[in-house]
């Protein structure tokens, strides 16, 4: 039994979730607390990957990051490296596809924090930066954790965008869903079944553990 799809999947999802934790929370805060031109646009734009089929998201990522892509061609010219067909591409795909879930749930959580607490912190001389970390985040904790768990689960299950920009290379970019697809298509039903069971168990475990954590406080 080759465990590389499981290891790869966990690694990719963990990395994607870390990126999502930082940028998802930041975008959610900006959307919840700031009023600026283009706010609705930003909101819609960051929700898009949740609505679009992942293959469409993957297509856009190729246009953006492919070797001849809008950004990708500069990266390639500068470094001689292209993100296509690498495990990093799988992380990018998982991040982009899962981040809307975090933004949605973090935004709702931050919006539900009473503004009076933040105003009180401001009057007591705390900067916005300190208030964000010491007041807003702790009060929104539950929603943030929930968002992260769901994002992790979504990243773990990511398939469409991943197969488009990372391919399906055994040991390199074959995450669990891709390995299941390959195993099933090539008639290795036994392997497919094993991988399906592992993925199901891991997903249930992730959800169970985090529900317990959020319940204990």
């Amino acid at each position: 039994m080759d465990y590389s799809p499981l290891v790869l999947s966990l690694l990719v999802s963990a990395l994607a979730t870390s990126i999502i934790a930082v940028f998802g929370t930041l975008i959610a805060y900006v959307l919840a607390r700031k009023r600026f031109f283009g706010r609705t646009m930003l909101d819609a734009f960051t929700t898009l990957p949740m609505i679009l089929p992942p293959t469409v998201t993957g297509f856009y990522l190729i246009i953006l990051l492919g070797k001849n892509g809008i950004i990708g061609n500069y990266i390639y010219k500068l470094t001689g490296w292209s993100v296509m067909f690498t495990w990093q591409a799988a992380v990018i795909a998982a991040t982009v596809v899962a981040i809307p879930i975090m933004i949605k749930s973090a935004k709702a959580a931050i919006e539900s924090v009473d503004l009076e607490y933040e105003k009180a912190a401001f009057t007591l001389g705390k900067s916005e930066f300190e208030t964000f970390f010491l007041v807003t985040l702790p009060l929104a904790k539950k929603g943030l954790i929930a968002g992260l768990v769901l994002s992790f689960a979504r990243a773990l299950g990511e398939f469409g965008a991943t197969i488009m920009i990372a391919g399906n290379i055994p040991g390199k970019t074959s995450t669990m869903p891709l390995a299941i697809y390959r195993a099933f298509q090539s008639g290795e039903d036994q392997l497919a079944t094993t991988l399906v069971i592992i993925l199901t168990v891991v997903s249930i475990a992730v959800i169970y553990i985090t529900t317990r954590i959020s319940r204990t406080d």
Partner: protein, 250 residues
């Protein structure tokens, strides 16, 4: 007002009924026949044209094509997909189906052949191939072109060296696409695929990989075995072979 609306609806309905009546009154009285043809994706353009020509002479026939990697199509048939005809890019898939008794044995025949080539922005020698970063080949488990390429690389003694650089594609047309978009430096496709691109084509010594032959057979539980058989005959006939040749087969 209400009556007017009713009359309008009635008139529109009558118009639609009349129009559709006209459309369905075709000159031939034969019953319409639909067949599903699963075929190796390398055959896509050639078979689409051959199918169009065939149905000109058999207007009652409609051919639904299902193109994909031969190994994937074989699995679909094994899992009970209702398919009438199957053409593969290697013997392995048809062998598997024959072992399971899923094809009509007497209809199995090889109807065309192909060659393996390397496509890249410029012509490549084996030495140059070794220096590349990313080389696309079909998935070894489901794509015959991938297995032919693997055989060639093994016989040339460079498979282990190139293995870390291989990018596996879901079918041979995806290899073509990867190279055309320059996401990879080179790729292994069939000669027939290479005619679709402006990329440079490097031929491969034919003694270094198995002969690429396309077998075809009628599937056992086909509802239309007769017309399926006729299409096989058509492909083997002069007209069918001319079309295949035009697309780089044979």
């Amino acid at each position: 007002m209400k009556i007017n609306r009713l009359i309008t609806i009635f008139l529109i309905a009558a118009l639609i009924a009349g129009a559709s009546g006209c459309l369905s009154e075709k000159p031939n009285d034969k019953k319409p026949v639909e067949i599903t043809f699963s075929a190796a994706i390398s055959l896509q353009d050639a078979l689409t044209e051959a199918g169009a020509q065939f149905t000109k002479n058999h207007p009652e026939v409609k051919i639904n094509f299902n193109f994909g990697a031969s190994g994937i199509l074989e699995k679909q048939i094994e899992q009970g997909a209702s398919v009438d005809l199957f053409a593969s890019a290697s013997q392995k898939e048809i062998d598997l189906l024959e072992e399971k008794g899923l094809i009509v044995r007497s209809t199995r025949t090889n109807f065309t052949s192909n060659k393996l080539v390397i496509i890249a922005p410029s012509r490549l020698t084996i030495e140059e191939l070794k220096k590349l970063d990313k080389i696309a080949i079909g998935d070894l488990k489901t794509v015959p072109a991938g297995r032919y390429a693997q055989a060639f690389l093994e016989n040339a003694g460079i498979y282990e060296l190139l293995k870390p650089k291989l990018i596996f594609a879901e079918n041979v047309r995806q290899v073509l696409d990867y190279v055309e978009r320059k996401e990879v430096d080179a790729g292994f496709v069939y000669f027939s695929d290479s005619l679709k691109t402006n990329l440079s084509v490097s031929p491969i010594n034919e003694s270094l990989y198995p002969h690429v032959v396309y077998p075809i057979a009628v599937i056992n539980d086909s509802q239309q075995p007769e017309i399926s058989r006729q299409f096989i005959d058509y492909l083997q006939g002069k007209e069918g072979q001319t079309i295949l040749k035009k697309y780089g087969f044979g």
